[in-house]
């Protein structure tokens, strides 16, 4: 047994009166990776921050013990903690967009911990920074040293974060959802990078993720957290093969995996509802150096039949949302046509009647409901605007809530009194109120936990079957696209890479790009 780097015993965290982490214990050894999984809010971040003495919430209280190479961190003095942070422990946080200081050069940000802990001279620190940038795979590191964070892509920023965390060869690396905000392809690169570095330096790693797929790729051991309790703490393969806890089983179950679920079959003879051809959208972005053009959607065509689902998939920035926005009229299309049940959507002011036939459900359930409006007011809006309810309005609202499996009392609530899944259901109910011909779902489940995502997806499938709905399903996760769609359109840089029936596409991808996407999908179970 090699040496224990971090040893956490019965760690409890309370904020205010509320205890959030109820006594968690775990240990990580040198060169080993511990994965922590759990739903959002289960206390993953709090546990790790408290264990390393980085928790800074007002009125927080930490008890228990956490030893880093034998040194007790719970209750340690700020100075003692500072000597550890950035030195023997390195941190990588979730959001690469905001975790680097926008006003400082990369050099400054990387050399800071080196100068502070190693008392290195400017030149030595700079040399080390170069080395680190090279190690994390930033091209032309010399030139990049004087760059600012906004000049880097998301993946590059996360690499810089890793460089900072590894600057002083820490014994322990804490990675809190380091790849959640990244594309699948970038995510795979970052995972490989960390594994590679770990092999070279023998650093112990604690890797937090809500995605079991990621964890199974990086970790040897897994700790499953739920509501602040450790439910399972076992080697990963053991857990995957034989989950003992019901909750773990559910997590595994809910995980979208390619080929696991298929959409209900749809009748190919159904009439065409939406016919899009040659859709083209350009944005002119004004920069101080002049106007620049972004070709967001480049000559995209597709048809959608009643009762079918068309999946649109692609990396971030590939133009998926822009297609949806052009159809709903939020952005203006530059060319092309879109005919919805005989009505041309593009290029003119559309009537209110036409607008009604296209409903949209957005990604973020937090921002798509008016925080100042009760659930019933949000659902009532389309009813009032289009005069859609025949009988009593309250009756109809209750009916719609029933359709999305929410109790009628929810009508009185405000959005902040709902969970994410409930909010997304309300959004769906509001879309249903329009009695639309086509429903556009733009990453409708991307921000939900896997178990809730699974339920919402199931709800959508049921509604499609029961009500004969037609979906335009936008997502970046190939597995759920596969689960929901009859046809799939793969988009890259606004261009169609492949547009075929889902079955054919997943069986035998034609374009290289589709293949890269499929390759980057994490396997269900790591080998060995």
């Amino acid at each position: 047994m090699s040496e224990v780097v971090l040893d956490v015993r019965d760690l409890k965290v309370a904020i205010g009166r509320r205890e959030i982490v109820h006594g968690v214990s775990f240990a990580v050894q040198k060169g080993q990776t511990l994965g922590i999984v759990g739903e959002s809010g289960s206390g993953k971040s709090l546990t790790v921050l408290a264990a390393t003495g980085l928790l800074d919430a007002p009125a927080s209280r930490v008890t228990g013990s956490s030893k880093l190479s034998g040194q007790e961190l719970v209750g340690a003095s700020p100075a003692a903690l500072r000597a550890v942070h950035g030195n023997t422990v390195g941190f990588v946080f979730q959001d690469p967009a905001t975790s680097l200081n926008p006003l400082l050069t990369l050099e400054r940000q990387i050399t800071e911990p080196i100068e502070v802990h190693r008392h290195a001279s400017r030149r030595e620190a700079r040399a080390r920074a170069l080395e680190l940038l090279e190690a994390v795979g930033i091209p032309k590191p010399e030139a990049r040293l004087s760059a600012y964070p906004h000049q880097l892509s998301g993946g590059q920023r996360q690499r810089v974060m890793i460089a900072i965390a590894l600057a002083n060869d820490p014994e322990l690396l804490i990675a809190d959802e380091p790849t959640t905000a990244l594309d699948v392809t970038t995510q795979a690169q970052i995972i490989d990078l960390v594994k590679d570095l770990q092999q070279r330096t023998g650093t112990a790693v604690v890797w937090i993720s809500h995605d079991l797929g990621v964890i199974s790729r990086v970790a040897e051991d897994v700790l499953v957290l739920r509501h602040g309790d450790a439910i399972e703490h076992r080697p990963i393969l053991e857990l995957l093969d034989d989950p003992s806890d019901a909750y773990t089983q559910e997590l595994l179950q809910a995980r979208p995996v390619i080929g696991k679920h298929h959409p209900a079959p749809a009748d190919p003879e159904q009439p065409v509802v939406l016919e899009v051809s040659g859709l083209d959208v350009r944005f002119s972005v004004s920069t101080p150096s002049g106007k620049e053009e972004v070709h967001a959607v480049d000559d995209v065509s597709f048809t959608l039949r009643r009762g079918h689902t068309l999946g649109i998939v692609g990396e971030s920035g590939s133009g998926k949302s822009t297609i949806a926005n052009a159809l709903t009229g939020i952005v203006a299309a530059d060319a092309g046509s879109a005919v919805l049940e005989g009505d041309e959507l593009l290029g003119k002011r559309r009537s209110r009647q036409v607008r009604r036939k296209l409903a949209m459900v957005f990604q973020d359930p937090f921002s798509s409901l008016d925080p100042k409006a009760r659930v019933q007011d949000s659902i009532a809006e389309p009813l009032i605007v289009h005069g859609l309810h025949k009988g009593s309005r309250d009756e109809r609202i209750r009916e719609l809530l029933g359709l999305v499996e929410l109790p009628a009392q929810m009508a009185q609530r405000y959005p902040h009194e709902l969970s994410g899944g409930q909010r997304q259901r309300v959004s769906i109910a509001r879309a249903l109120a329009l009695e639309p011909s086509v429903m556009i779902l733009d990453e409708a489940t991307a921000s939900l936990d896997v178990s809730i995502q699974a339920k919402v997806l199931a709800l959508l499938t049921r509604l499609q079957v029961d009500l004969g709905l037609t979906y335009l399903f936008i997502a970046h996760d190939l597995a759920i696209v596969q689960q929901m769609s009859h046809d799939v359109l793969v988009l890259q840089n606004g261009k169609t890479q492949e547009y075929r029936s889902a079955a054919e596409l997943f069986d035998a991808p034609e374009s290289d790009y589709t293949r890269t996407l499929l390759d980057a999908v994490l396997p269900e179970r790591p080998v060995g």
Partner: protein, 310 residues
């Protein structure tokens, strides 16, 4: 920057129209004021003609703007002095007061605001917030009278009023500028403290601050290099607003301290219905306002590479 310039010209043009119409809408006869209590009707007509007040308003306006474009703001109706000269002679006092006031305000607000934000929710924070509310709620003329009666009348440390140019005697300049500067600075400081505090609070919860702490940096480095520096943009903004306000003339304070600033000049000009002088001062104040905004923009770019490099 060019659009900024065009924008400034448009705003100045709008200001000139507003200034001109307002000035001429105000009742009160400048000629009678200028002639004093005894005069003959002939003298009245003569002066009216001599000052061009008998012309149609539109003609007066276009003549005014025509000259203003060449930098000629006309001559003061009362003193016969060129308006530009009269305004320039007031600038040193105005700028002295503004600079000293803003320095005092900044010093107070940076120290108190940053400290309060870094100790959010504590007793000190509560006291600073309350004190800043007191400062915002006290009428400034009141504060001025108080300072005079304490430091000048009671203790005799500082002169109660007046102004010496810094070029004549820097020590004397300082003695004279301290009290009015403190009056202006305390009020500005109270207002700015609130903004500094909330700006620092906003930054403090940013993810990159957690990153900085995770590097084990000393607290001072985290506070200044990472937090305060990122809070500078809103701080610069509110400083600019305060500076522009003081430059525009803190009339009541200037009256209390017999300070020869623009506010005092404008006030007498209004009393005398000295149209060219009023219009000139309004244009100057507006121009300074725009200039300060411009400088604020430049500082933004200096502080923030995202603005500088894009």
């Amino acid at each position: 920057m060019r659009t900024r310039l065009i924008y400034s010209v448009i705003v100045l043009f709008g200001v000139s129209i507003l200034a001109f119409s307002i000035v001429h809408l105000v009742p009160g006869d400048p000629v009678r004021i200028a002639l004093g209590t005894r005069y003959t009707p002939e003298a009245y007509t003569a002066l009216r003609q001599a000052s061009g007040l008998d012309q149609p308003l539109l003609v007066q306006y276009f003549q005014y703007v025509g000259h203003a474009v060449t930098g000629d703001l006309g001559v003061s109706f009362r003193s016969g002095q060129p308006v530009t000269t009269a305004l320039l002679s007031r600038l040193p006092a105005t700028i002295s007061l503004a600079v000293v006031g803003i320095i005092i305000g900044l010093a107070i607000s940076l120290v108190a605001g940053v400290w309060a934000a870094m100790h959010e929710g504590g007793v000190g924070d509560g006291l600073i917030r309350l004190a800043s509310q007191f400062g915002v709620s006290v009428p400034d003329f009141w504060m001025g009278l108080l300072l005079i009666s304490l430091f000048s009348a009671k203790l005799g440390w500082l002169p109660s009023s007046g102004y010496t140019a810094i070029t004549d005697d820097p020590v004397d300049w300082l003695k004279h500028v301290i009290l009015p500067g403190a009056t202006v600075g305390l009020v500005a400081g109270a207002i700015m403290t609130r903004y500094v505090r909330s700006a620092v609070l906003d930054v403090r919860s940013m993810s990159y601050v957690r990153t900085a702490r995770s590097k084990g940096l000393p607290p001072r480095m985290v506070t200044f290099r990472h937090i305060v520096r990122n809070a500078l943009i809103p701080i610069v903004t509110i400083t600019g607003i305060q500076l522009a306000t003081i430059l525009g003339g803190v009339l009541v304070v200037e009256v209390v301290f017999a300070w020869p600033g623009l506010g005092n000049l404008v006030y007498t000009a209004v009393q005398n219905r000295d149209y060219p002088l009023i219009q000139g001062s309004i244009l100057l104040i507006a121009a300074m306002f725009l200039l300060v905004n411009f400088i604020v923009d430049v500082i933004y770019a200096l502080v923030d590479p995202r603005i500088r490099l894009s």
